[in-house]
Symmetry: C2
Subunit: 244 residues, 2 copies
């Protein structure tokens, strides 16, 4: 199987296993312009044709008021070529900072997320698709353990409590290395999308820790499986392990 | 507080929080002769005097039929000095291997564990105390995730299903670095106890991963807290996260 087909099958697997897309869904795709969201865009666009579940797609790019390293023109052109023109919404993330407050990941992502919700409302979408992949999910798990003291991660599917929208992550089964290969083959690997504020992120040690654990190519899949496979008998403090 | 007292308090915390030692317990201490089990031995011996919970101690060393790098005389002498003479039981771990089978960690630990259970029976002990510390518990968690695909670890307290004995790990809250400092100060840090078969252990990458995640000294404690703190809303595949 070509690596492109393998990637496509993994997206199908996530869609079906986690019921990410259901008949009649209107999906708003959040396109940062980086390799992850473009890979997701490409596959969702192509899946629309002939996919057993009928769904509709919209795309939006949230553009902050600071340089994010991306070249907007080139990915917007790609989206046009792929027949899913991408709406660009400017959000003054920096400008909205209260005086004295420093820019941080939490603030930026909240501002972007609120705008996505507004766009979903305006475009009558019920799902918001994000380009997070398996490595992002594993990294978040380790970060939350090591720095928040809890076991939790990004979910393949998360319904907002206070809004009628569901976030979906169809790349949940796709490893970052597969995305890089795909982006290379498609010629859009060089469209970077990084942020200059991201210098002290705790994501870096988490990423490095996973690289070290991954002594062979199956380890990331195994770790992902573990995320939904607690063994209550051997977990500290569960009812089973407390038994006398 | 001296580091010795801090270590002692952490052992008390584990004993009380996980009900590791209960009134009238007869505890069999498994002494490999390395820094971990000697640290545990020292503290349990000293706790016997004036500890609010009355308990009795026995000590046993399981000696395999291969060189394990340890100098038996020196730690046996220490145990005599500390007034808890250590029974030495020779177990032919290698000799018992079926023809054609290679030596491995699973085989060795099973053989040793069965002998410990036999000794507990003979010495009328109901608890078996092992010298595993916080780093061992965290490493095991990452190993089980990355290589077994499940969330599980060594427990501070585990009652055997088929035997009337409970394994306890009073060093669960103690970091390895604290044990090293203590062993240094006490002068027994050089009593090594390593095994020549342990060349391909998956414990090494897990240990390295924790070192990388531990960007400050509180991270191991935070990770340990996470082990008993799942956030069901953000765990993949739990009832809460499946909600629509």
């Amino acid at each position: 199987m070509s690596s492109k087909n393998k990637l496509s099958r993994k997206i199908d697997k996530a869609i079906l296993q986690f019921s990410l897309i259901e008949p009649g869904d209107r999906v708003l795709l959040a396109v940062s312009g980086g390799k992850d969201s473009l890979t997701l865009a490409y596959h969702l666009i192509h899946k629309q044709k002939g996919f057993p579940i009928p769904f509709e797609l919209e795309a939006v790019h949230i553009k902050p008021d600071f340089p994010n390293g991306g070249d907007n023109k080139s990915f917007l052109g790609l989206m046009e070529e792929w027949d899913l023109p991408c709406r660009v919404i400017e959000v003054p993330v920096l400008e909205r900072l209260k005086p004295g407050r420093k820019m941080n990941c939490y603030w930026c992502s909240t501002q972007r997320r609120m705008e996505l919700i507004r766009q979903a409302e305006e475009l009558k979408c019920n799902k918001i698709a994000l380009g997070h992949h398996m490595d992002d999910i594993l990294e978040t798990f380790l970060m939350n353990m090591a720095y928040k003291g809890e076991m939790s991660t990004m979910l393949p599917k998360l319904k907002y409590d206070n809004y009628p929208y569901t976030v979906i992550r169809p790349l949940a089964y796709v490893q970052e290395s597969e995305i890089i290969s795909f982006a290379d083959a498609m010629g859009f690997a060089k469209i970077a999308c990084t942020c200059n504020f991201d210098t002290t992120s705790k994501r870096h040690p988490a990423r490095e820790a996973i690289d070290i654990l991954a002594i062979d190519s199956s380890v990331r899949d195994t770790m992902f499986r573990a995320l939904s496979n607690p063994n209550p008998r051997y977990m500290i403090g569960t009812a089973e392990s407390r038994e006398d």
